[in-house]
Symmetry: C2
Subunit: 628 residues, 2 copies
C-alpha cells in the first residue's frame, strides 16, 4: 500500500512529538517517518510473506494465486513459505525475550554464587515464594542456598532434558490438556527456538499447519518460560513493583540538568546507572559543570522497568526515542538491547548526544561500547555517568527545545500489588467480574509503528474499553501512550463505565493498570491463570482479551502468539506478513479458535477493535453463565 | 542474473540424470530445474542480502550504494541488514545440524536409561574412548553407566551453564587462543543460535562485524558441538564406519524388486528400515507379491549414513532425488528431515510412489505421517516396509525406466578407519605431508545447486586437486558425485599426481576418501585438530582447505563458516547473499584471514578454484618450512 506524504499532525497525536517533528524538519534531521516514506511502497512479495531466502537455490518469490511462479525452487508453496517466515519471525521474538531472561538468570546466578557485589537479592520473600512454588525446599535454608537451587531450576528450563518448563505449574489443567493434545507443551526455552530454525530449513517442515503449531509452542516457551523468568528474577533482584507515582512525556527532560536517557529492556544496566546518578559525588560533579543536577529518564522498556520500581520518569515510547534526542538537551543515551533504532547514533551526532552501548550482543557502529558484566556493573555505571556529566559543556543551549509539561501517572501494578490492593486475594476481582462491574479484562501491549498515527490507536482502544467496563492492563510502549493520555491516574475512572468506575473508586486505582515492560506480559499470563484456577476453568473460558494496536516487533508477534496459545483472544492493529497464505491466515484468524480456544483478529480501527473485544467478552461471560 | 533456458546436457553432467530429465519432459513432470527457470531472475535486493523482514515497520529494501533507499525504517544500513540476514541464515544451518545431534543424544539417552529395546550401543569401545576423552570415569564401570554420564556431558552442551562446549578439548591451544581473543568460544549449542536470533531482532546488534563474529561463534557451536555430537553418537549407536564397498547412481534401483528410498539425514529411522527390509518374513512377503526381493537404497545424507556403515547403495544426491522417483520404479520414499524437496510428494503422486514422513518436526502436506519415536522405531519400520511391499502391485512397469549401470565405490573412511589404515598413528600421513607426497588435504563437501551444471564443479575440482597431490576428503552430496566419477575407487590413483598415487598405492586407498554425511564434517575438523596437535601448530597453519563447490543450503553456509573459524581456507562455488555489503563481503573474503587465519574465496570455475586452494596450500607449506 502506498504511503502518501503525511502531515506532522497525522504522524503523531501528541504535541511533544509534533513540536520535535517540526524541529527535525527545520534542522533537516531524518526520522523514522521519513525513512518509512522512502521505503514505501514495500515489496508486495515480502509484505505477503511470499519471499523465501532460506537457501541459495533462490531467493524465491511466490506469485499470489494464479501467477507464473507458483512454487519455490525446492517446490515449497506459498503456504509453506509464509508459515516458515512467520516461524522465524516469532522465533526472533521468543529468542529476544528468552535471551533477556537468561541474562537475568546469569545475574541471579552470580549473586547466589557470591561472584558479584554489584547485585543483590532485593525481594527475598518473592525468591522464597517462587522457589517453593517450583518445588525447591525452602524451610531452614539460607536465602542464597535457595537461590542456588532456583537458579538450577531455571537453567534447566534453558536445557533439553525436560518434558516441560517449570512454570507449567501455573498453567490451568484444562489449558495443559489442550497443549498436550496438540503436542505443543513447551519443553525448553532454547530448544523450541532452535527446533523452529531447524524446521524452517529447506526440506524439513513442509506443512504449514504443523509449522504454525510449533509457532505456538515456541511462543509458549517464551511467555511461560523466558519472559516469565525475566520478570520474576527482575523482581527478585530489583524489587517487586508497587504502585508509585511518576511522570511522562518529553517534558521530563530538564534544560538545566545533565540529561541521561536509558533505553532498551533489561534493568541490569539501568539500575546501576540510577545508583550512579544518585551518588552525591556525581551530583556535585554535575554542579561543578554548571548543571543543576543529573536527570535520569527512561525510554521504552528499560524506562518501564525503572519507572515501575523506582518512579523514574519516562521520556517516551518507541517513536519518541529519536525525538528525545532532537530536544538537543540529552548528554547521553545508554542502551542495552532490543528496539533501539540505529538512527539514534546518527541523530546523536547531530547534537552533542553520546550513545553508549553496554551489551556485547548489541553493538552499534558509531557508538562507544562500554561493556557491562556481572562483576563490573557499578564501576562501569560510574564511568559512563561521569562521561555524561563531562558532555554538559558541549550542549548548545540555543538548540535546546523541551516541549510541554510532564503528565503524572501511577505505575507499578505487579500481580502482587494488584492482589495486595484487593486485600490479599483475587476474590474481590472475581466477584466484580461475576457481578458485571468489571465485565472483562484486556491487556493492551506492545509498540508503536510509524505506519499508524503514533499512539492514536493505543489510546482510543483503551478509552473505548474502559467505557465498556473493561479493565485495561498496559505494558510496554503502550504504557507511555496511556500515561500521556492521563489514563494511568485514578481520576480517569470518570472516563470509565459505571461499574468499573465504582470499583476503581473503591480501590483508589486507575481503570488502566500499568503492569510493566514487554517481558512483563508474563504477569498478565500469571494473572489469567490465577483467575482461571480460582474459577476452575480454562483461560480460554475467561472474559479476557489482548491487543497490540500499534505493534511493530517480532517480540510483539511472539507475545500475541503465546496469548492466543494460552487461550486469549488477541487483537492486532496491523497484520503480520502472512496474508499471502490462505491456510496460514485462516489458522491465525479462525482455526486457532477451534484448536486453541482463541485466535487473532486484525482491525486497524480502534473503535471497531473495542467492539470485537467486547463481543468476545460477552461470549465468554455467557459461557460462564454471567450477564453479558 | 538471468538464467537462460538450458539444455538437458547443461543441466547435469550425468547420463542417468539426463535420461530421467528427458523422461520428465516427456511425461510433463516439473523438476527443480523448471522451477529455477521461472524463479529466475531472482529479486536483486534479496540476492544481495539487502531486504529485511525482521519487523513490520518494513519490509525494507536497501538500494545498493547511492540509491534512494539508503536505510531501513529503523535506520539500519545495508551492512547491518546483510550481516543480520547472514546471521539468521547460518543460524538455520547450525540449528538443523544441532537439532539432529540432539535427536541422536535422546536416542543414546533412551538406550542408557533402558527406555528402548529398539536401539543399542554398537560400538562400546568408541563410547568408552569418547567418555574418557571428555573426562567421564570409565574404569570399573558398566558401559551403560558410562553412557549415562556421557549423555549428561552432551546435554550440558545444549544448556546455558557452560563457558565452553565439551569437544573444545580437541581444539589446538593456539586455535582456542584465537577464539578467546575474539570472544567467540562457543558456550552452548542452543545458546549461540538463540543469541543470534536475539541479536538480529530490530535494535540489537547493529554493527556488522560484531554480528559476523557471532556467526563464527554460532557455527563453531555447530561444528565442534551439535554436528560432532551427532557424528560420535551415530557411531556409538550404529557402528563406526570402516572401508566398505557399495554402489552408486540410479542404476542401483531394481526393476524386479520393491524399491524403497530413504532420504534425509539421521540414521535413527533408516537403520530400522534396513532391519525390516532384511527380515526374511518381509522378503517372503515381497516375493508373494511377485517381486524378486526388497531393494533399499539411499539418497542424500541418510544414504551416506547407510552406505558408510552398511554398504547400502546410493541412488543419488540432492538433484537426483526427484529423478529417482521419475524412474517409476519406487514404491516408497521414507524421509526424516532436511534437504527433502517438497516436490517429491507431488512427483510421487505422478507415479505410485508413496512418501512417508517420520519426524513430527518435518511433516509434508500430502505425505503420510508415521511417527518414529525412540520406543517404536522397530514397530513403525516393519509397518512402513509392509506398506511399501503392498504398493508393488500398483507399479506400472511400462513407465519404469532405470538408467545405466551402478558404479562401484569404497566408502566408510572414518578417522578411526584412516588412522587404522595408517597403522594406528597419524605419523605416516604427517610424514607423507612433510615429504610433499601428499602436499595437502582438502575437504570437498556439500550439496548440489541447480544454478550450476549438476556435479560438474564437484567432480572437476576433485580431479584437479588429486592431480596436484592433494588428498581429497568427501562428505555429503559431493560423495555421490565423486563416486559416480569413479574417484572413490583405489584405481583412481592413476588420476593423481605421483606422490599421492604412491601413497594410495601403498595403502590401497583411493585418493578421495569418503568420510560421511554433512554432520560428519566434524570428522574433518577432528582430523585437522589431530594433525595440528601432532605438529604443535594451529589448524590455520596446516596445508589444508575446504570447498563447497555446488552448495545450496544454510547448513553448508554454517559448515563453511565453522571451517573458516577453525582456520581452514574455504572455497565456495557460489556466493552467499552478502554481496550487498562491502563490509560483510570484505570480512568474509579478506579480513577473516587476519582475524581467524582463514577466509572464504568464491570462484565458480573449478580449475581456478583448485589453483586458489593450491596457492593456499603452498603458502602454508612454506610457513611450516616444507617444500611447496
Amino acid at each position: 500500500m502506498a504511503q502518501k506524504k503525511r502531515t506532522i499532525e497525522e504522524k503523531s497525536m501528541w504535541d511533544d512529538a509534533r513540536q520535535m517533528l517540526r524541529k527535525a524538519e527545520r534542522e533537516n534531521i531524518e526520522t523514522v517517518w521519513d525513512r518509512l516514506e522512502y521505503q514505501t511502497p514495500h515489496c508486495t512479495f515480502c509484505e505477503l510473506g511470499l519471499t523465501c531466502k532460506n537457501c541459495i537455490m533462490g531467493p524465491c518469490r511466490i506469485s499470489p494465486k494464479g501467477g507464473k511462479r507458483p512454487l519455490g525452487v525446492c517446490g515449497a508453496d506459498g503456504d509453506v513459505i509464509v508459515a516458515r517466515n512467520f516461524g522465524r519471525f516469532v522465533a526472533g521474538g521468543a529468542a529476544a525475550h528468552s535471551d533477556h531472561g537468561r541474562d537475568c538468570l546469569e545475574a541471579l546466578h552470580a549473586v547466589a554464587e557470591g561472584e558479584t557485589e554489584d547485585y543483590e537479592i532485593k525481594d527475598e520473600a518473592k525468591l522464597l515464594r517462587i522457589a517453593a512454588e517450583l518445588g525447591v525446599t525452602v524451610e531452614g535454608r539460607t536465602v542464597l542456598d535457595v537461590a542456588k537451587d532456583l537458579v538450577t531450576v531455571f537453567f534447566d528450563d534453558f536445557s533439553s532434558r525436560k518434558e516441560g518448563i517449570a512454570f507449567l505449574c501455573r498453567v490451568p489443567e484444562k489449558r495443559k490438556e489442550v497443549w498436550e493434545n496438540l503436542g505443543i507443551i513447551p519443553r525448553g526455552v532454547d530448544r523450541e527456538v532452535v527446533e523452529m530454525m531447524h524446521r524452517t530449513h529447506m526440506g524439513c517442515d513442509n506443512d504449514a499447519p504443523n509449522t504454525m503449531l510449533h509457532c505456538a509452542r515456541t511462543c509458549l516457551a517464551d511467555g511461560w518460560g523466558g519472559s516469565m523468568i525475566a520478570t520474576e528474577i527482575s523482581d527478585i533482584l530489583f524489587g517487586t513493583p508497587m504502585p508509585m507515582k511518576s511522570k511522562v512525556n518529553l517534558g521530563v527532560l530538564k534544560d538545566d540538568q545533565v540529561n541521561i536517557l536509558v533505553h532498551g529492556h533489561n534493568p541490569i544496566v539501568s539500575e546501576k546507572i540510577l545508583e550512579a546518578v544518585n551518588d552525591p559525588e556525581m551530583v556535585a560533579l554535575a554542579k561543578e559543570k554548571g548543571a543543576a543536577g543529573i536527570n535520569l529518564v527512561g525510554l521504552c522498556c528499560t524506562g518501564n522497568e525503572l519507572m515501575m520500581r523506582k518512579g523514574i520518569p519516562m521520556a517516551g515510547n518507541h517513536l519518541m526515542t529519536e525525538l528525545a534526542i532532537i530536544t538537543g538537551a540529552v548528554e547521553m543515551i545508554i542502551v542495552d538491547y532490543q528496539c533501539i533504532m540505529p538512527s539514534l547514533v546518527t541523530i546523536g551526532k547531530c547534537y552533542h548526544t553520546k550513545m553508549i552501548t553496554t551489551a556485547d550482543k548489541a553493538k552499534f557502529t558509531g557508538a562507544e561500547h562500554i561493556r557491562f558484566a556481572m562483576d563490573n556493573g557499578r564501576e562501569q555505571a560510574w564511568k559512563v555517568v561521569k562521561m555524561a556529566i563531562e558532555r554538559y559543556d558541549l550542549r548548545d543551549q540555543r538548540r535546546v527545545d523541551i516541549p510541554g509539561e510532564p503528565v503524572d501517572l501511577i505505575s507499578g501494578f505487579s500481580n502482587e500489588a494488584i492482589i495486595g490492593a484487593l486485600g490479599g486475594t483475587p476474590t474481590p476481582l472475581i466477584d466484580a467480574i461475576k457481578a458485571g462491574k468489571i465485565r472483562g479484562v484486556v491487556g493492551i501491549v506492545g509498540c508503536n509503528n510509524p505506519k499508524m498515527q503514533h499512539d492514536h490507536c493505543n489510546v482510543t482502544l483503551a478509552r473505548e474499553l474502559i467505557k465498556k467496563d473493561i479493565l485495561v492492563l498496559a505494558t510496554g510502549c503502550v504504557t507511555t501512550a496511556l500515561g500521556k493520555a492521563e489514563l494511568l491516574l485514578p481520576e480517569s475512572k470518570e472516563q470509565a463505565g459505571d461499574g468499573l468506575k465504582e470499583i476503581c473508586g473503591a480501590l483508589g486505582i486507575p481503570p488502566v493498570l500499568h503492569m510493566g515492560s514487554c517481558v512483563d506480559n508474563a504477569r498478565i499470563l500469571e494473572l489469567c491463570a490465577l483467575l482461571a484456577n480460582e474459577l476452575g476453568v480454562d483461560i480460554a473460558d475467561l472474559p479476557v482479551g489482548a491487543s497490540s494496536p500499534e505493534w511493530y516487533s517480532e517480540k510483539a508477534a511472539a507475545i500475541g502468539t503465546y496469548a492466543v496459545a494460552s487461550g486469549i483472544y488477541t487483537h492486532l492493529g496491523l497484520p503480520p506478513n502472512i496474508l499471502g497464505s490462505e491456510v496460514v491466515t485462516d489458522l491465525a484468524l479462525k482455526e486457532f479458535d477451534d484448536l486453541l480456544g482463541a485466535c487473532f483478529v486484525v482491525e486497524p480501527d480502534p473503535v471497531k477493535a473495542a467492539e470485537l473485544l467486547d463481543e468476545r467478552i460477552k461470549l465468554r461471560r455467557r459461557g460462564l453463565g454471567l450477564s453479558e
